[in-house]
């Protein structure tokens, strides 16, 4: 096994382990911390695929901002749930459905022909090219995304603020 392979399987194990921690943990705060682990492992996957910018964004926005927001929400909606009631009574069905879906997806991956055989190479996308594409070729989606963020910002404030006389 080469270094890259060892790294990939290590990172994949971390990502899957963190994800399992998110869905199986009996403690909501532990679940959020497991989520950080899984998101950081996904950033590692991006680095293995030579996408440093995406890995940076993943660490800053996902592992940083989003999880802090989730932890805040957990803190504000705390009612002291019993650990036994963290999952609903439907969990065996959920486990069956999700493992069926996972099996189907993996079977589809295994039986399909994919591009990228042994001689293919991963090219590193330079930051300049990425910024150029974002601001020229993808300028309209970029602006729409900023509008979506603005609407989400205003909407979140309107939804979450305390109203007078409430």
């Amino acid at each position: 096994m080469t270094v890259a392979q060892v790294m990939f399987y290590l990172i994949a194990a971390l990502a899957v382990g963190g994800a399992l921690g998110v869905v199986l943990s009996r403690n909501t705060v532990y679940a959020a911390l497991f989520l950080i682990l899984s998101l950081l492992a996904v950033a590692g996957v991006y680095i293995l695929l030579a996408q440093e910018f995406l890995a940076l964004v993943q660490v800053l926005i996902y592992a940083g901002a989003v999880t802090v927001l989730l932890l805040f929400a957990l803190m504000l909606t705390r009612v002291g749930d019993l650990p036994e009631t963290m999952v609903g009574a439907q969990w065996p069905l959920a486990a069956a459905a999700s493992s069926l879906l996972g099996g189907l997806l993996i079977a589809a991956v295994a039986t399909s022909d994919w591009p990228g055989d042994a001689q293919s190479q991963i090219t590193r996308v330079p930051f300049e090219a990425l910024g150029d594409a974002l601001y020229r070729q993808w300028a309209v989606p970029f602006e729409i995304a900023s509008l979506v963020l603005l609407v989400a910002l205003v909407g979140a404030i309107v939804l979450a603020r305390e109203e007078e006389g409430e």
């Binding site: 996904v42 293995l48 964004v57 009612v79 486990a95 991963i122 590193r124 974002l134 979506v148 609407v151």
Partner: protein
């Protein structure tokens, strides 16, 4: 050839896709089984990440010249940030009105 560009010769694309499939199924399990709305949002984040891995892996392996997959992943992260902000505001509002964040207790639309 440096280390990063040599990855393709050592790890086949299928391994990234299988990793993404596993993460997605775990996220589906979380969405279906959890009761707390915040934990459901966390599982949705796992699913979004699985989709991003797929996009980036395809961008790196299938079309190295055009990086549409990477642009997609950037937009996924942007939309996920907006979605988490809004969803958590809704959860906070629901919690303030009903004193619970468990989705199975929000059953006033049911008869």
């Amino acid at each position: 050839m440096d280390g990063a560009s040599a990855v393709a010769q050592q790890i086949p694309l299928e391994h990234f896709l299988v990793l993404s499939a596993i993460l997605f199924s775990i996220g589906v399990y979380g969405v279906l089984s959890r009761r707390n709305a915040v934990l459901i949002i966390m599982s949705v984040e796992l699913m979004l990440n699985a989709a991003s891995i797929n996009m980036v892996a395809f961008a790196a392996y299938a079309s190295p010249g055009a990086f549409i997959g990477i642009i997609f992943a950037i937009f996924i992260i942007t939309i996920a940030a907006a979605e988490v902000g809004l969803a958590l505001a809704i959860v906070l509002r629901v919690f303030r009105n009903r004193q619970t964040a468990n989705v199975d207790e929000l059953d006033t639309l049911r008869w």
